[in-house]
Every structure is written in C-alpha cells, then in structure tokens.
C-alpha cells in the first residue's frame, strides 16, 4: 500500500496563546512495501507526522492517500494501520495473549473470527515474534525487548497495510536493539507491509530504512536512501546530524586555506573566509606533512572502541578539538599515544557555504 502525504501542516495550541508550528506543509510519497525511517532531532515533528498518518492527530491542512483512497477524513479505526507506540502502550492488566488478541476480539461480531481461529492466529503471531512461551505472562514480567515484540505482534494482528512505529527501539539496550532491528527488517520483507518508523538515532535510520526522511523544525530536509544520504547530504544540517563532524575554518587565498599555522591546498575554491567540514574517518593521519597539507595536531585522548580507535586531536589553530577514527593497525603503526604530534590529511572536505553543497578531495586517499 503506497502512502501519499500532500501538503500536510499542523500547528498545536489554540489561536492566541502559545502556538507551536509542529509541521510546515509537507509532501512525501512512500511506495508500496517500503520501510521508511523518519529521522530528526527532538521536537522536529516526527511523532506529529506519524500520528497524522495514523489518524491519531488531525492535520490543519493537506491530504493523506493510502494507495488511491483518500483517508484524510477516515477515522483511525478504519485506516487499517498498525501503530507501535514509543513506550509500547501495552495493556498492563492483560496477558500477552490478550494484548495480541485485543484487536481481533474488538471486531464487530459479524467479522470476528471464531475463538479457535483467534487462538490459532494469536499463537501464530506469538510464534513469529518468538514469544509462544510467554503467552500467559503480563507485560511487566517481560524485558523491554520482549515487550516491544508483543507491541509489534499486537499491531500486526489485524494484518494492517501500513505499520507505523514511534521510536520502536528507543528504550532498549544496544544488543537487544540490534537484534530487533534485524528481526523487523526480516518481518517487513516477509509480510510486505509498508512501514514508517520514527527514530532520532542516525545509525538506526541508516541501518534499517529503505529510504530515510530527515526532518528538522517541522520541515523535511532530505529524503533519500541511506547511502545517498551519507554521500550527498542536501545541506549542512543533514550532514551534521548524520554523524560526528570536524570543523575547519580559515581564509582562502590562491587556492590555499590558512588558519593559524595550518595550511591546506583547496583547489578550485574562491578566495575569502570559508568553513569546511569533515568526518572523523575522513581524516588520514601520518607522521609527515606534505605540500598539499600542513595540519599539525597532537593527540589529546585515545579511545579504542571495537574495530577502531578514536583519537582526539588538539592544535593551537583549532577552536575545538577534532575527532579522528583510525584502524588498530594504523594506530599501532603511528604509535599514536597521548601527546604524540602528527599531521592530518583530509581525505574529503565538505563545504556548505556555497550555493550547493560541495565535496572536495584535496588528498588522494592513498
């Protein structure tokens, strides 16, 4: 089921006092079977958009179509959506079984399956979320990840065309989160519904979605595949939001940027003051400078994290320290312990003060 969001806007509060513009008019097309992530900082309107699609909130203007059907004025009940709430909103006083069966039992008598059918359907769902053994437990007796799976099973019981999830993994620990993500992806592929999920975790959005919608301040900043998003951020906000960013500001003259004692060749860049951005893994470190880059730094902190080592780099010419991430081998080769003086070689540089975002590659990534 495809979803077409056209010109949807929302302002909270009554005229006169404390109004909040939660959504600027927004357009978005979601294809049938897609898994879309809504990514953005707190207060950017993700939940609001999701709730409007669900029909839990009324938009001020605009229309929502599910495939060809205009559902703008259709009640939640009749939209055939499944909604997974941020803190699950499980019915605390019902067993896992009853939670999942709720939607089926709530059907009008004519449409309601026989209780044997309900039973088998619920058990099948519980099997799917691997919770058969927990049918008789109460939500409070489950771990966060298990609760989340119950919430999913409950939302799927009515075979919705559209599955909406608000920060589905927000409160879980990294390991459980990872596992559930993978599991959701599989489920999605298997049952082929259209999904829209909210998150403020870049990694999650990138890892899980077919396409990511980046939002800020009630606007959509960019809609793209994770890869495109990462490679071609539409603007500085998207770039900064998608990962750690180092900043380099200086005066460019004759295609050379100067900043204190630091010097960097920036071919093709016009004269004037410029700000360049680069990611931690876009910094190459070596013990020598070269003609193109003279960026002396000293290591101020060393944090080995898994496969890589994060280095904090300080220099007089730097306002705030840089963060670089290198592999263990490089780390050992450079003997990059605290206080060690090294030279940075940007592999890639991003520029957002021009008319359109621009990426420079001053150094061959040798």
């Amino acid at each position: 089921m495809s979803i077409r969001i056209a010109n949807i806007a929302k302002t909270y509060g009554r005229p006169g006092r404390g109004r909040t513009r939660a959504l600027e008019p927004i357009d978005l097309d979601i294809h049938d079977g897609e898994l879309i992530g809504l990514l953005g900082p707190s207060g950017s309107g993700k939940t609001t958009l999701l709730r409007i699609v669900a029909g839990l909130e009324q938009a001020d203007s605009g229309t929502i179509h599910f495939a060809e059907r205009d559902v703008t004025n259709v009640h939640v009940r009749d939209r055939r959506i499944g909604f997974v709430f941020q803190h699950y909103a499980l019915f605390r006083h019902m067993s896992v079984y009853d939670n999942v069966a709720f939607g089926l039992n709530a059907l009008p008598r004519r449409e309601r399956p026989s209780s044997a059918e309900i039973r088998s359907r619920v058990m099948q769902l519980l099997e799917m979320v691997r919770l058969q053994a927990f049918a008789e437990r109460f939500p409070a007796q489950l771990s966060g990840g298990q609760q989340q799976r119950v919430a999913l099973a409950r939302a799927l019981a009515l075979k919705p065309d559209v599955l909406l999830l608000d920060e589905p993994f927000g409160a879980l620990d990294a390991k459980v989160r990872q596992e559930l993500r993978r599991w959701l992806r599989h489920l999605h592929e298997e049952l082929h519904f259209t999904s829209l999920f909210v998150t403020h975790d870049q990694e999650e959005a990138l890892e899980l979605s077919d396409r990511v919608v980046v939002m800020s301040d009630g606007r959509i900043e960019q809609v793209d595949t994770p890869d495109a998003l990462y490679r071609q951020p539409a603007n500085r906000f998207v770039f900064e939001f998608l990962g750690d960013v180092n900043r380099l500001e200086g005066d460019v003259r004759d295609e050379t940027l100067t900043c204190g004692e630091a010097r960097l060749a920036v071919p093709g860049m016009p004269d004037g003051r410029h700000e360049l951005l680069l990611r931690p893994h876009e910094i190459h470190l070596s013990e020598r400078d070269d003609a193109r880059a003279h960026l002396p730094v000293s290591v101020s902190a060393v944090v080995p994290v898994g496969a890589e080592v994060r280095l904090e780099l300080e220099a007089d010419w730097l306002g705030e320290p840089w963060l670089a991430s290198v592999g263990h081998e490089t780390f050992e080769r450079l003997d990059a312990k605290r206080g060690k003086r090294l030279f940075a070689h940007p592999v890639r540089l991003h520029r957002f003060d021009a008319e359109r975002p621009q990426t420079l590659s001053p150094v061959c990534a040798s």
Binding site: L56, R92, H93, F102, G103, A106, A140, Q141
Partner: protein
C-alpha cells in the same frame, strides 16, 4: 533504601502523633457512639434496631444510596473522561462547577431544590397540577443526595486519569476498538481502584447526608425518614439510646469501607503479583 523520614525516631514520633490524633478525633467519637448506643445493653440495642421505623429508615437509606451511587458513578466517569481526554474551551470552568456541592451549605442545597420543585417553585406548579410528588418523597431525597455527592467520583478519577494519559486508549483505537470496548477493557481496569474509592466516598456521604435531605424529606415517619433523619428525630425525642443505635449503624456502614478497603488491598496485591512477579 534511604527515604526521608525513615530514621526510627522520626518514624516513631510521626506514627505516634498520627495515632494519637486519630484516636482523639476519629476513634474516640466512634467509641462514644457505640458506648451510648450500648448504654442500656445489647437487648435494648437490638430492640431499637428492629424498631419498625428504624427498619423503614434503613430501607429508605439503602434505596437512596442504590439510586444515587450508580447515577453519580456514571456521571463521574463521563465527566472525568471528558475533562481528561479532550481539550475544549471551558474545561477548567466545568471542573470548578462540579465542586459547587462542596461550596453550598447542605441546608441551602436542600432549599434550592425545594424552591425549584416545591409547590411554589418554578416547576412545582406544573408538578403539583399533574400530581407528581418529587419533594417530600423519595425522588426528592435522591435528587438532593445526588447533588451533595456528585463530585466525589469525578474528583477521584480526574487526577489519576490525567496522570495516566491516553496512550493505551489510543493504542486500542488503532486496533479498531469501539468506545465501549476501550472503556471496558482498557480504561476501567486501570482506574478501578480510584473508581472504587470514589464509590466508597459517595456511598459514605449518601448514607450520611442530613442537611439537604432534612429540608426536602418532610420527615414522615416510616416513609421519608432516612437513617440520619431518624437519628435526629429519636434524639430530639429524648431517645438517646435509640438515636445512637441508628448512628452506630451509620458508622458501621462507613466502616464497611474498611471491608471494601481490605478487598481493595487484596485486589492490589493480586494485581501487583501479576504485574511485577518478574
């Protein structure tokens, strides 16, 4: 776990003070009532209880309570639902309006009903012409009692429902549940303790209301005398023992709350065991 006021000395002093004050202000009156009721022995107590008019008063009181409590229960639930689940202009005013019965002296409460439905009242003429007796009959007593006790259920529910939020109800809507199903299967289980509590308070007040009822009841022995009116009448008539016998009955009805509270505790214990057994 460290909590404020946990030091044994503080604890002992506070519990001690609380118990002494409770004894002075609540337990002692209770004892005094029973003491006076039993002053002339159990036989007399029993005799007073089985007095034809006392029995009639008990019957009427129960009738009034049975009529009042469900009405206020329904109203309280709807009002709480309205006030906590929707935002609309005048919400706060509505919330204040339901406190009116607390603000009106019971005698005045009775009076306003009398002035409305009485023979000379706005509606009274019409009622009189059609020979419909509201005042000085049980419907008037019920009306006055409803008035006096209507805030309790809503007052208990509103803060709780506000704190709980509407998330589970929303979840139920997305699952296609109808309003009644949502209320019965999702909301009710969450608020049942507060509801229960509201009912206990409503019940206590309905059973014990005197001021408003005395104005609209007409005090016909065996017919429109509720238990509190009966108490008053026996007392006025120098039948102290009889009066306190009936009063002790009312106190017992209040202490029924004790039983129900124990039931509530049991419920809670079971629910807690269910929900936290992990």
């Amino acid at each position: 776990m460290i909590r404020i006021g946990d030091a044994p000395a503080v604890r002992r002093v506070l519990i001690g003070t609380a118990l002494v004050l409770t004894a002075l202000f609540l337990l002692l009156p209770l004892v005094a009532i029973f003491a006076q009721a039993l002053m002339s022995g159990l036989d007399v107590y029993w005799q007073n209880l089985s007095d034809q008019y006392t029995l009639a008063a008990i019957g009427l009181t129960l009738l009034v309570t049975l009529a009042t409590v469900p009405i206020n229960l329904v109203f309280g639930v709807f009002l709480a639902w309205l006030v906590t689940r929707f935002d609309f202009p005048g919400r706060r005013l509505l919330q204040t309006l339901i406190d009116i019965p607390f603000a009106v002296s019971p005698v005045v409460a009775g009076l306003v009903y009398l002035l409305l439905y009485g023979r000379n009242g706005w509606l009274g003429g019409w009622l009189d012409a059609h020979d419909i007796q509201i005042m000085f009959a049980w419907p008037g007593i019920v009306l006055a009692t409803i008035f006096v006790t209507c805030p309790f259920v809503a007052r208990e529910l509103i803060p709780l429902m506000q704190a709980q939020g509407a998330r589970e109800e929303e979840a139920a809507v997305t699952l296609g549940a109808s309003g009644w199903t949502i209320f019965r299967r999702v909301t009710l289980p969450k608020i049942r303790h507060a509801l229960f509590y509201g009912v206990i308070l409503t019940n206590a007040r309905a059973v014990g209301e005197f001021g408003a009822v005395s104005v609209v009841a007409g005090a016909i022995r065996g017919e429109t005398n509720t238990l509190p009116l009966q108490v008053e009448q026996l007392y006025q008539d120098y039948n102290t023992v009889g009066a306190f016998t009936s009063a002790s009955l009312l106190a017992l009805l209040a202490l029924l709350a004790l039983l129900t509270l124990a039931a509530k505790a049991a419920l809670e214990w079971r629910a807690a065991r269910r929900e936290n057994a992990s």
